[in-house]
């Protein structure tokens, strides 16, 4: 077994050098599965994972085939979940993947950056929703509304848009984006308060429907507040939106010997920014989970009546969870607006809310690594796998009717994920420890 697994990894490394591409990367995924699931000694497994990290990086750089990115995500998952891997190895390999492998791959194929950024944005939002749904057990079906509020907060002031309703010199210069991240925390938390104050008084499943409705209301407002006063520019959306100036970043990178061009500079910058944000968000999340509030949330999730009798004030505690989750998504909204330089109401539909919920569910409610994995899996599935598959079908099998085109059926895929997860693995792919115990009990 050990020999076989090692052999597979080495073989993939060879393939990645000599014949990089989709096939080689598929082989690599097989090798990764072997390294993860076969019975191996801890040392050998660690060695194997390190080898595979190298191999996937090589494969990505040489071919730009994004299946390699799935491999890297897989290694990250293996690093977080497999037992008996030394902590420093986990940290070192993890950082190597995030800070070296992915950027290298990004230079070969900037779509990797795009995927990385989108994964990051969604992961941070999934972590936010995780506080609301996973920790506090409040089903929020209008989460994308907060994302919208965050995105519009910067979009309006980081573009000409604000001129429509106030005097001043707009767009604000790009560096204002940093204070605006803080402002977005405030505006989204305020929105969370406004939505939560009525909604959170309601019984559990009313909350779901009310948040769903209010999520729609926010989208409708974004779509219609171009009249009588033009706040959002309505369906036309807002563009161009200022990005932060990154001359310092270019110089820094140049000093480190990294040469950036027009297509990669902002991509790398936003990728690193998003990584940083995730780091912060995880930090906040972990601290919250272990704090007084975290325990109160879990208590409410488990038994509202008991929690109340223990003296936990329900509404304020729930509101806090709601606003915390909202704030996460608000910050990411700012980054989203700047990275895309365009926002329009169509990005904030119910489907977006459900997608983020799907990420939390897939990963495991309440689980921090779970939320990140869920975000990575669904984003890659949505942006890459389904589309690649569709392209393949359209170009190679044109006799298949276009009605069956896989990219059209993302809802079907989400639906299946939700239903199958609920029936067969309700605790998610990487269950939260507390949750796991309960599920076993039941």
């Amino acid at each position: 077994m050990s020999a076989l697994s090692l052999l597979l990894s080495l073989a993939y490394l060879g393939l990645a050098f000599l014949a990089p591409g989709a096939l080689a990367n598929l082989f690599g995924l097989g090798a990764l599965a072997a390294a993860a699931f076969l019975r191996l000694s801890p040392n050998l497994r660690t060695l194997n994972l390190a080898l595979l990290t190298l191999a996937f990086t090589v494969g990505l750089v040489r071919s730009g085939n994004t299946l390699g990115l799935i491999g890297l995500v897989g290694i990250l998952v293996a690093l977080t979940t497999l037992p008996r891997v030394p902590t420093w190895i986990r940290a070192a390999l993890g950082l190597a993947i995030l800070l070296i492998s992915v950027p290298l791959a990004g230079f070969a194929n900037t779509f990797v950056f795009e995927l990385g950024i989108q994964i990051g944005i969604y992961a941070a939002m999934a972590l936010g929703l995780n506080v609301v749904v996973g920790m506090a057990g409040l089903l929020d079906l209008g989460y994308a509304a907060f994302f919208a509020v965050g995105a519009y907060t910067w979009a309006i002031f980081g573009s000409q848009q604000a001129k429509n309703f106030m005097a001043g010199n707009f767009p604000l210069p790009g560096e204002y984006i940093y204070p605006f991240m803080l402002i977005a925390i405030a505006t989204t938390a305020l929105t969370g308060l406004l939505i939560g104050l009525p909604a959170l008084r309601l019984r559990g499943d009313y909350l779901a429907i009310v948040t769903l409705g209010l999520g729609e209301v926010v989208r409708i407002l974004a779509n219609n507040l171009d009249h009588p006063i033009n706040f959002t520019n309505g369906p036309q959306g807002i563009t161009p939106i200022q990005r932060p100036p990154i001359d310092w970043f270019r110089e820094l990178m140049a000093a480190m010997g990294v040469r950036l061009d027009q297509t990669t500079d902002y991509q790398l910058f936003f990728y690193l920014l998003v990584l940083l944000m995730i780091g912060l968000v995880v930090l906040v999340n972990v601290n919250l989970a272990n704090s007084r509030f975290g325990r109160a949330w879990v208590a409410i999730r488990e038994d509202e009546i008991a929690a109340r009798s223990m003296g936990i004030p329900l509404l304020p505690t729930k509101l806090l969870a709601f606003m915390t989750g909202a704030a996460f998504s608000g910050v990411m909204g700012v980054i989203f607006a700047a990275q895309r330089t365009f926002v329009s109401p169509e990005s904030f539909t119910l489907l977006a809310s459900i997608t983020i919920l799907g990420m939390v569910i897939l990963g495991g409610m309440g689980s921090i690594p779970g939320a990140i994995l869920g975000a990575a899996a669904l984003t890659i599935l949505n942006l890459d796998v389904l589309k690649t598959f569709s392209e393949f079908v359209r170009t190679s099998l044109p006799q298949i009717p276009s009605q069956v085109d896989p990219a059209k059926y993302e809802r079907l895929v989400f639906g299946l994920i939700l239903v199958l997860m609920m029936i067969f693995r309700p605790e998610g792919l990487i269950p939260e420890k507390r949750h796991k115990a309960e599920m076993e009990e039941a």
Partner: protein, 390 residues
Amino acid sequence: MRKIGLLVAGVAALGMALGQANVIKIATQSPLSGPQAALGEQIKLGAELAVEEAKAKFKALGFDLVLVPYDDQANPDVGVANANRIINDPDILGVVGHLNSGVAIPSSEVYARVGLVMVSPANTNPRVTDRRLPNVNRICGRDDVQGPVGAEYAFNNLKVKNVFVIHDKTAYGQGLAEEFRKRLEALGGKAVAFVGTEEQSNFVPIINQIRGARPTPELIYFGGIYSQIGPFLKQLRERGLKTRLMGGDGLDSSEFLRLAGAQNAAGTYYTTVAGPVSAFPKAKAVAERFKQKFGKDMEGFGIYAYDSANVILTALEAAIKAAGGKKPTREQVAQEVRKVKMEGLTGAIEFDDKGDNKKAKYFVMQVASTGNWADNKLIRTIEMAAPGAR
């Protein structure tokens, strides 16, 4: 272990399609699924026909020409995500698309990062070219002409003063409706209402507003897509309102007949930037090939997509020659596109410094009562230069 084997085998087929040398790809982006698929598919098929017909020529130059269609689902998020994929396929040297301005505007920013050229057969929103991106071009007209053309026809020829204006709350529909209203009011007419709606099925509230509007509207103008206007018109007529209807190029699909009912649709006026086959004598032969190949009638956007693809192909040819027979860079192709002077099916194509066609055509049409979209009456053709950027 079996799982691993399945995984490897199952996805292995994927790899086969990727990675061939000396390939040049032209991408299309348009909605191939969902509400607006009928229009989007015309764009894809029009481009496909042009690419098919040019294959032999490019083979002689040493390149395999391939069309890669993308489905933007009429959604800017999907369009941008696709655009990010497109720019990373180095073989793609040109994009024909999109249908919706709301999708084209953010997606073209992505193409602009790598200088990938986009030639649009259908995006009429002024901002598409007014941003002066060097890679963005269109051969069709603009809403700030199309809307006024409709308004002038309504005011001067139909002698209409009071118009009930509706739009679909999209970048395209609302933009068009606003241009229409502006010109109408400048001419001395009146928009008795200016209503946006995302509603897809129940148009009763709006119909009641029309019924109650004072002064009584003599015309309804709907800036939107056939998928919404069709059912709206059907419900309007069922409720006994005979007010005439006018729309823009979003209505220009035979699907409109099916959804509104041929009888109800008959007599509807619409302006379009992509004229019918009957407007272009040269298009007749192409339309026959189209019908033969795809089993469908070629409609306006099919013709314009055919021309758009040919603009790119012409520029490609020039760029290949300039590069000494090698594969040109995307910038080179984009530069050549701006230099193109050709006679397409739709007439002379030549771009100004913003990427607008120097002389775009606008058509006023009326839906025929025969139940056949191709029979629609071409009332007038207007050729006009794009207005200067604001």
